[in-house]
């Protein structure tokens, strides 16, 4: 299936629901063929932003361009109706029409575009094969399981080669196992189709797994934009550090006398020294550093490194299956460590905990 890729530019987008401001001046770009995800807790404005791009929500102000042409601009008084924007969308509820067969559901976009019957048949077949529903075309859409409905919604969305594909939490109604499977399938499909896509989710793993870039939102504003790796390893502030996986936040006084280029060193109230990465971020005399719980290492003997090695005591151990979570007494406070190591440490054991300075990230406040 040939892909028509279009870029998206969103400028100062604001959306109001009556007196409530759902999105307050959001700006970001999606490159042609790129897969961008809007990530955030419920009520952060991510779905509203997506619906504004789709044309299902009328923004209060700002500009949206698709493929360089404005589809909405408050300044130029342009508002192209959703059906004329050439986009497509997969809905959270799937929105499969129960009164049509699977085939008719998928064929809808092609028939709207008045494609000849032979072409409609061929392309619907191809699309159904792609989502592995090849033999279900004649079935009534009302008689599908959740996972099948999901696939029909997907096929219906891409069959007419839209320039942009929008996803509104498409996997949130599936059970955990199916969701993990669909995540892989979706990524595969995205890569094959190469359509520019904007994906909305509140699920971190989903966002990290399928995106080229992630936009983290809160309260209608953008908190951070970056690749999944950047978002995960270098959260910009406490919100992102907290929302994007679990992190230990450590506060201390800056020690500029010990700092080298690109490094930051803080001293905790009880005197422990923590070396971290500055990433050109600024802070005052007090600073906050985030360390992912999986980046901390436990050992019975001190590791040979010169910095970031501290003694600690294991207070509690919780077995999670894929990993074990340790709650440590460290430096007069609690530190959480997730370890996949097979040999468990015992509760009450005295251990050494260490961290690579590159994994200790200075946060903006």
């Amino acid at each position: 299936m040939s892909a028509r890729q279009a870029s998206i530019e969103v400028r100062d987008l604001a959306v109001h629901y009556g007196a409530v401001v759902a999105v307050r001046g959001v700006t970001f770009d999606v490159g042609a063929g790129e897969h961008l995800t809007l990530l955030g807790p419920s009520g952060c404005g991510k779905t509203t932003t997506l619906r504004a791009i789709a044309g299902l929500e009328r923004p209060a102000s700002g500009e949206i361009r698709i493929g360089g042409s404005p589809v909405f601009s408050s300044a130029a008084r342009v508002n192209v109706p959703a059906e004329d924007r050439g986009l497509s969308m997969v809905f959270q509820s799937y929105a499969i029409w129960p009164h049509m067969s699977v085939f008719d559901n998928v064929a809808y976009g092609l028939r709207v575009r008045k494609r000849p019957d032979a072409e409609v048949t061929a392309r619907v077949r191809e699309a159904l094969d792609l989502v592995q529903l090849g033999d279900l075309g004649r079935r009534s859409a009302a008689k599908l399981s959740g996972g099948q409905q999901q696939r029909v919604a997907l096929a219906r969305a891409f069959v007419f080669s839209p320039s942009v594909l929008l996803f509104d939490e498409p996997l949130s109604n599936l059970d955990a196992k199916l969701r993990a499977e669909m995540r892989v399938e979706l990524k595969e499909l995205q890569r094959r189709l190469g359509i520019t896509s904007v994906y909305v989710t509140h699920d971190l793993e989903e966002a990290l797994a399928i995106s080229d870039r992630v936009v983290v939102m809160r309260d209608g504003a953008i908190e951070q934009v970056g690749t999944p790796g950047e978002i995960y390893d270098r959260p910009r502030n406490t919100f992102v550090a907290d929302f994007v996986g679990s992190a230990n936040l450590i506060r201390g006084r800056r020690r500029p006398d010990l700092e080298q280029e690109g490094r930051v060193v803080i001293e905790t109230p009880s005197g422990a020294l923590l070396h971290g990465t500055a990433l050109d971020r600024r802070s005052g005399a007090e600073a906050l550093v985030a360390i992912r719980t999986v980046r901390l290492r436990l050992a019975r003997v001190p590791s040979p490194g010169s910095v970031n090695v501290w003694p600690a005591r294991i207070r509690q151990r919780v077995f999670h299956g894929d990993f074990t979570q340790y709650h440590l007494d460290w430096d007069g406070r609690r530190l959480i460590v997730r370890s996949a190591a097979s040999e468990p440490m015992a509760e009450g054991e005295e251990v050494f905990v260490s961290a690579d300075p590159r994994d200790c990230v200075l946060l903006e406040e």
Partner: protein, 566 residues
């Protein structure tokens, strides 16, 4: 892709359409009400139009009719108490106990609505009139003196009203009982409270607002009800507000301004009632009662099972079976009497009814109007419901409020406003079926809107949006997605409007012209001017006509659905 070419500026189109349609519908509602108020303020020559002078004399003069307002309150109160008690007992029995045949009984409880108060009043007049009522014939045959019951009294009117509003009360209260999470009661029991304590402290407080709401709604309906009071009250010169208004308008010389003032007063009271009702329903008291339907906990009533079953059957007997059998029985008799005699049976009533031009044309007119009202009403009200609940039009709330206004106006009062409004209208439609069509479309706005809104709200918005995202314009969307999904609900709405129109009395009796009669008022006229056996035959014919029309329609609809599925 060429987006710039297609990038239109902000389209005023939908907004303009909405404003025009919303405004037109609002005018349809407000125009007659304005004329009603104008008439009530006319203090010059009562026949003069437009009024020669304005003043409040008609309202201050209403004191003379205090007894009529008293009658109305008395009948409505008595009937409300009875209807709510019956409705509550039935609702509790059928939704919370293990009474035998629950499912079937619950289905049957909607039947009184289809029997209509007029049919009930005619039947109960045959059963309970002091002289020759069936019940009193039986009483005397058993050795009783004088009469057992007299239906031509305030209590008789209240009895008949209560029988029919009882099913409305039942539906409303049962809905509340079913939407209560049984976990709320189970929590009370788990914490150690007994059954009685749970009932008094948990169940009752939770359903009370719903019961109160039902009571107020039913009371408001009773205040404006017309047919039972007309059929049963007129012979004994017992008037309520609506029948008094009718009398004032139809006598010679008519007393329009006084009637209008009465109508405005009734409108004000009913308006307040509906406000209170809405307040109760929308207030936070329902926080624990979600929109979700639960499977209610069923109480084992053991020995009471059969007595409760008997109660349900008894209600259906007096509200449905007895009236229908009585009317059918009377329609086959030369002279109505309880005791069957072979030489008294005849088909002459039907032959007469069908051979009378007046009845023929009235029957035909009624069916024609029913089809027209339903066929115009469904698209019109469907569009309005869509505008209000789906288009996010600014001011949708205000439009909804206006369109639901006829709910608070008795149909007779509304028709009075229309009478005045359309008499002065430049297009001469007064006395024609057109006026009745407009009247039906207006007074059934709330009924149609509520029915269709229920259907529209069931169809998730994203089903339409996904069609939009596939590139379908609104016309294409409407044709391929919205309409097919709404079809079953719209057919139901069509049937409801059809039935309601064919059997409408309050508005028709004032607005029909001598050359454009419709059936229900003709039945009432026949009741008062000819004999009851012929009237009974006409009532049976009306019911049959509705039934046949519905059967034809169902068959057609089923075929259409099957064709659509293939």
């Amino acid at each position: 892709m060429d987006l710039v070419g297609r990038a239109r500026s902000w389209r005023p189109g939908p907004l303009l359409v909405s404003l025009v349609v919303g405004g037109a519908a609002a005018a349809l509602v407000l125009y007659p009400i304005a004329y009603l108020i104008q008439a009530s303020l006319s203090v010059g020559d009562p026949q003069a139009r437009p009024p020669e002078a304005y003043g409040l004399d008609n309202f201050t003069g209403l004191g003379r009719y205090a007894h009529i307002f008293g009658n109305t309150l008395m009948v409505a109160s008595a009937a409300t108490v009875l209807a709510v008690v019956v409705g509550f007992a039935l609702a509790w029995t059928l939704s919370r106990t293990n009474v035998p045949g629950r499912g079937a009984l619950e289905q049957l409880m909607a039947m009184p609505y289809y029997v209509t108060p007029l049919m009930g009043a005619l039947a109960w007049a045959l059963i309970g009139s002091a002289g020759s009522g069936f019940a009193n014939q039986l009483w005397r045959a058993l050795g009783g003196r004088s009469h057992l019951i007299d239906i031509n009294t305030p209590w008789g009117i209240a009895w008949v009203m209560a029988l029919f509003e009882g099913s409305v009360a039942f539906l409303m209260i049962a809905a509340v009982m079913k939407s209560m999470d049984p976990a709320l009661e189970e929590a009370s029991q788990v914490l150690g409270a007994g059954r009685l304590r749970t009932m008094l402290r948990i169940t009752l407080p939770l359903v009370l607002p719903g019961v109160l709401g039902a009571a107020i709604f039913v009371f408001a309906e009773m205040l404006g009800s017309f047919s039972a009071a007309l059929v049963l009250g007129l012979p004994s010169r017992f008037y309520v507000v609506t029948t008094a208004m009718y009398q004032m308008v139809s006598q010679y010389p008519p007393r329009f301004p006084t009637a209008a003032a009465m109508g405005v007063a009734l409108f004000a009271v009913m308006f307040a009632m509906v406000r209170i009702y809405r307040r109760i329903v929308t207030r936070g008291t329902y926080a624990t009662i979600t929109g979700k339907a639960f499977r209610p906990r069923v109480l084992d009533v053991r020995g009471l099972r059969w007595p409760l079953f008997a109660l349900c059957v008894a209600y259906l007997a007096v509200a449905v079976f007895l009236p229908v059998l009585t009317i059918v029985y009377a329609s086959f008799q030369r002279l109505t009497t309880l005791w069957p005699r072979r030489d008294n049976f005849t088909l002459a009533n039907y032959a007469t009814a069908l051979s009378l031009d007046a009845v023929q044309s009235a029957l035909w007119n009624s069916l024609l109007l029913g089809v027209a009202t339903a066929s115009i009403g469904v698209p019109l009200m469907g569009f309005l419901a869509w505008l209000i609940y789906r288009s996010r039009l600014p001011g949708a709330g205000a439009i909804e409020y206006l369109l639901m206004l006829p709910q608070a106006v008795p149909r007779l009062v509304f028709a009075f406003g229309m009478l005045w409004a359309w008499l002065v209208f430049p297009i001469p439609i007064y006395g024609t079926l057109w006026l009745l069509l407009i009247a039906y479309l207006t007074v059934f706005l709330p009924l149609g809107l509520r029915t269709i809104a229920g259907v529209i709200l069931q169809v998730e918005r994203s089903l339409e949006e996904s069609a939009q995202m596939c590139g379908a314009g609104w016309g294409y969307r409407l044709r391929t997605v919205t309409m097919p999904l709404l079809r079953p609900g719209l057919i139901a709405a069509w049937l409801l409007l059809f039935i309601a129109s064919v059997r409408e009395l309050g508005a028709s009796i004032l607005l029909m012209g001598p050359k454009a009669k419709v059936l229900t008022p003709a039945i009432v006229e026949s009741w008062f001017s000819t004999h009851s056996e012929l009237t009974a035959a006409m009532a049976v014919l009306q019911t049959l006509a509705v039934a046949v029309a519905l059967a034809v329609l169902f068959a057609a609809a089923r075929r259409a659905v099957q064709a659509g599925a293939e």
